[in-house]
Subunit: 193 residues, 2 copies
């Protein structure tokens, strides 16, 4: 179940079969049932997860039981609470599988050892962090500057996958709007088609 | 004027004098007057800037002339519109010096060449991107989840520097609140001291 990992890494760096065999050996495969948690708030995030199948979601829960979604990750994406992973401090996030999922997990010692053993990986992860940073900055600016409608339109263009596969209230919590606002926006958009 | 660059890089990787001399040679020093722009919206962001002195700010301007601040960068911080820098597409950001400033600029060919010449730099920039990503994710979650007061308090603890040196309306645009709300919050906090 590592074909997708191979594909995504070799989009950025070249790897011989021997090198990939090595890389692969640092990962731990795990299957998740629908709604199963990969991380619970208060626990340390011990792994970065690469999604081979399914969709994961990371989110926080506030004092009023309101959910705030940081990220969805479907096939080919990475997910982790990097802050907790890097500092060993308890995570503020929960991570759950929205569908039956298959992930490849790598812990911090293995991650560092993988980059020492196959130094080209340092380049791969630099590019990965960089792309992730660009996407997060974009999202932050959107949440500061764009009206809800524009944010929803952009979301459905960028993640057509998620619009179909993710429950509406989770999309609302990702966009920082209420479920009612989202349902109004969807009606408006359907009517204007 | 590269003492600070040396200090910040060698906090993460070790460099010989020869290696740092090489690294240094890829940068272009530039002085900015107060209010001078380093980047204008619509131009491609050709450089990543390392701040040796002063404070820079990156921000967008919306159709109603409202400003939205992405980042402040004081001594020892990096600033760039990475999306534009990486893709050569026009930037949506403006960058200006809030005080007289001295920056070290590196363009994309030099940046790539520096990492090829001194491969350890790949590790430095991976860590840099990673830390920046963690900070941006935190800010995004705060803007989705935290009330304005908590956001302001956190801001003044994280950036005591900026609270003193940055005009209030820019802090408001960073926090995604109006100037009036910010001034109300400041009064409340002063009264409760």
């Amino acid at each position: 179940m590592t074909e997708l990992l191979y594909k995504k890494i070799t989009e950025i760096i070249s790897l011989t079969d021997e090198e990939f065999a090595l890389v692969k050996s640092f990962f731990l495969p795990k299957k998740l049932r629908k709604r199963q948690y990969l991380l619970q708030e208060g626990d340390v995030c011990r792994y970065q997860a690469f999604v081979e199948k399914g969709i994961l979601r990371s989110f926080t829960v506030d004092e009023k039981d309101g959910e705030h979604t940081l990220q969805f990750a479907s096939e080919g994406w990475w997910m982790a609470d990097l802050a907790s992973f890097l500092t060993d401090e308890p995570s503020i996030f929960n991570m759950e599988a929205l569908e039956e999922a298959e992930v490849l997990l790598i812990d911090k010692p293995s991650w560092n050892q993988a980059m020492e053993t196959v130094p080209k990986l340092e380049h791969y992860f630099r590019i990965l962090m960089q792309n992730h940073l660009v996407a997060t900055q974009k999202r932050l600016m959107q949440s500061l500057a764009e009206p809800a409608e524009a944010r929803y339109k952009r979301f459905s263009i960028t993640y057509p996958d998620c619009v179909q596969r993710v429950p509406q209230h989770m999309i609302a919590s990702y966009l920082g709007i209420t479920r009612e606002t989202l349902s109004r926006l969807r009606k408006q958009i359907t009517l204007s088609k």
